[in-house]
Symmetry: C2
């Protein structure tokens, strides 16, 4: 087990009707804020209005900035930074999913910086301070509501890159599973793939003596898989219990508890980022394409761990007889699961142009080789894309 | 799933050599502190000296108060409160196990209160403020290093009672598994029983749709059981990996993550407190006596959950054919496990006077009926003690 620090200061407020507490929690920090959202379903469903009522009741006023898209854009972040500076706003409330929260985090860094906030995503600068950010979550997926991560797309490349720093961890997050009842099945499924990927990135480690976190990871993955089926294919769109399991699992998947003592991989995330940067597909869909290929490419690496994954998460018997066969069976079950919840598992199914593969492979290793379970250079990344063709 | 708030602000610093960071972490809060410990093994092993070196190097000075015993005493807490007030100390560092940390927390409350700190344990007052407390942990067991709990024994009764409030959660805790290499097997075993009990108190709930936390609880319990065997009966006293699993599991068992969305029971803890209050036996040993009896007494209550416990934690096959038989087999395996690691599982084995049972049963329900899985009055508690006679 590796030495580690574990510190997560996000206050989670979870359950039915909890959006009504937004105002009181916000008022602890500021009386005038930037209210950031997509302008889409959060408006149509009336959920944003509930949040606004709560803010009003607590005497909090706001400047509104909507328009956040999936794969949130740098140009909108620039506008948010401008508004915060001009209006002297010192607190950002994100109402939405991971894209909105990631965008809010980027604005929070940019508001306290004189140059272009992209410098932090381009690794020219290290984030050390940011305005406080909070979230009212509507899409369980990214785990951004209690994570230190923000992923932004710079349209000029297009480049997709991340910042990971304690200073952007939300001070509080409000999670009401009822807000997810109206999520389209495809979006729910993308969220599920994202949560599973966050756990898999931590799970696939070479570190010995990580039994506790292995057990926690496996239990969380099984819970996500079962409840995803209930919600998406079992008619449970409005099943509060199942929605609640998914929503809380999505936070725990990415709040770093599950990585304590271990060195995660994170290669697949970087490999996927090229798909969503170039083709603008949903991150979760991209992960469902990349992860099975990544496992197959690594079939000779630490096969006991890969076979354990197949056994404990996908119920593959016989994992102790032939590690490789067990792993392959696990990959098949994972692909079947993704397919069953409506996700593409190949370039072909997603209609992606395979001609871009060499370019994507080069771009993916821009900051150097990827991953820790196995270090991947451009050639490895290209081979993984090709394993995902069909 | 119940609505919940989850917020744990304790910064955990985990791993080899981490005691060397005590000084720097403390200096953030104070330059002169109360240093609280047992005066026992922590001195003999030289571990306290390492902590002192770190404090010195960071320019932190201290007033020392040793003498904490298992089942920490109110009289020593009173002395600590006096010292803090007289010397105007604003920070308390506990070096030791749960008893030392609980004692430090009591001092932290008392130092900001004009009356007797026992008022809070006797439920005449609600704790709302306390001096900041931090811990350097040497015994994985109580989970006090990141919990809101403190349990103190008032020798006059003797009474044993607890305070549970956010204000006493440690601001940081340092966990070096190497510090546990020299723990006697019996003390390691008591810690293991305590951790398991913390999880079982959360696990035995009537709440539906708590799959994620069920999975996390089960995984943590399995990890504790396996690694306890390795350390105590497998010759692994100095097995860093196994000691590390136990130490981190002990924190997670009691940091409230595992109770999110559920209503725990906590009856067994109150039933045990009478044993350790009257007979001064180790809390963990008392729990190994009480918990199997508590489960047997509740065999007709929510048998699917009890059988699931037997299946998932103790590997009992056939849990789906006959819930009661599966549960009883689980209880037998649990008792065998406790016996194998050197703990008593009955009044007889621990040499406790059964004549005190009616008195203990009356005292246990002093504040009203116990537990939530099933409400227990004095008659129920007496019956549970009697199930634990042999």
């Amino acid at each position: 087990m590796q030495n580690f620090e574990y510190y997560n200061r996000t206050k989670i407020i979870f359950g039915r009707g909890t959006e009504s507490r937004t105002g009181a929690e916000t008022a602890v920090y500021a009386r005038r804020i930037l209210l950031h959202h997509s302008g889409g379903s959060v408006v149509r469903t009336g959920y944003l209005d509930k949040v606004k009522e709560s803010l009003k009741a607590a005497g909090v006023s706001w400047v509104e900035l909507d328009g956040v898209q999936p794969n949130p854009r740098l140009s909108l972040v620039h506008r948010g930074v401008e508004i915060c500076k001009k209006e002297k706003l010192n607190f950002i409330l994100a109402v939405g999913g991971g894209s909105v929260i990631d965008s809010a985090k980027a604005i929070a860094i940019g508001a306290l910086y004189d140059g272009d906030v992209w410098d932090f995503y381009d690794r020219k600068q290290t984030a050390a301070r940011a305005l406080p950010v909070a979230a009212v979550l509507t899409i369980p997926a990214a785990g951004s509501e209690s994570s230190v991560s923000s992923v932004i797309t710079n349209e000029e490349g297009p480049w997709k890159s991340s910042v990971n720093d304690e200073c952007i961890r939300p001070v509080f997050s409000i999670l009401n599973p009822e807000a997810t009842f109206t999520l389209p099945p495809f979006q729910t499924a993308c969220g599920v793939a994202d949560m599973l990927a966050h756990i898999m990135e931590r799970y696939f480690t070479r570190e010995a003596h990580v039994e506790l976190t292995d057990e926690l990871c496996e239990g969380a993955m099984r819970t996500i898989i079962r409840n995803a089926r209930r919600v998406i294919t079992g008619g449970g769109e409005r099943d509060y219990g199942a929605r609640a399991e998914l929503m809380w699992a999505g936070s725990i998947a990415h709040n770093n508890l599950l990585s304590t003592g271990r060195i995660g991989d994170w290669g697949s995330h970087a490999i996927e980022h090229e798909l969503s940067a170039l083709f603008d597909i949903a991150h979760g869909a991209g992960l469902a394409i990349v992860f099975p290929a990544w496992i197959r490419y690594n079939i000779k690496e630490d096969t006991p761990r890969l076979a354990r994954f197949a056994a404990k998460v996908w119920g593959v018997d016989g994992a102790y007889y032939d590690y490789e066969q067990a792993t392959l069976e696990g990959v098949l079950r994972m692909k079947n699961f993704f397919t069953s919840i409506g996700l593409p598992v190949s370039f072909e199914e997603a209609g992606l142009d395979s001609g871009k593969i060499p370019l994507m492979a080069e771009r993916a290793v821009k900051f150097g080789p990827l991953g820790n379970f196995r270090r991947l250079d451009a050639g490895d990344v290209e081979a993984i894309y090709r394993l995902a063709l069909k």
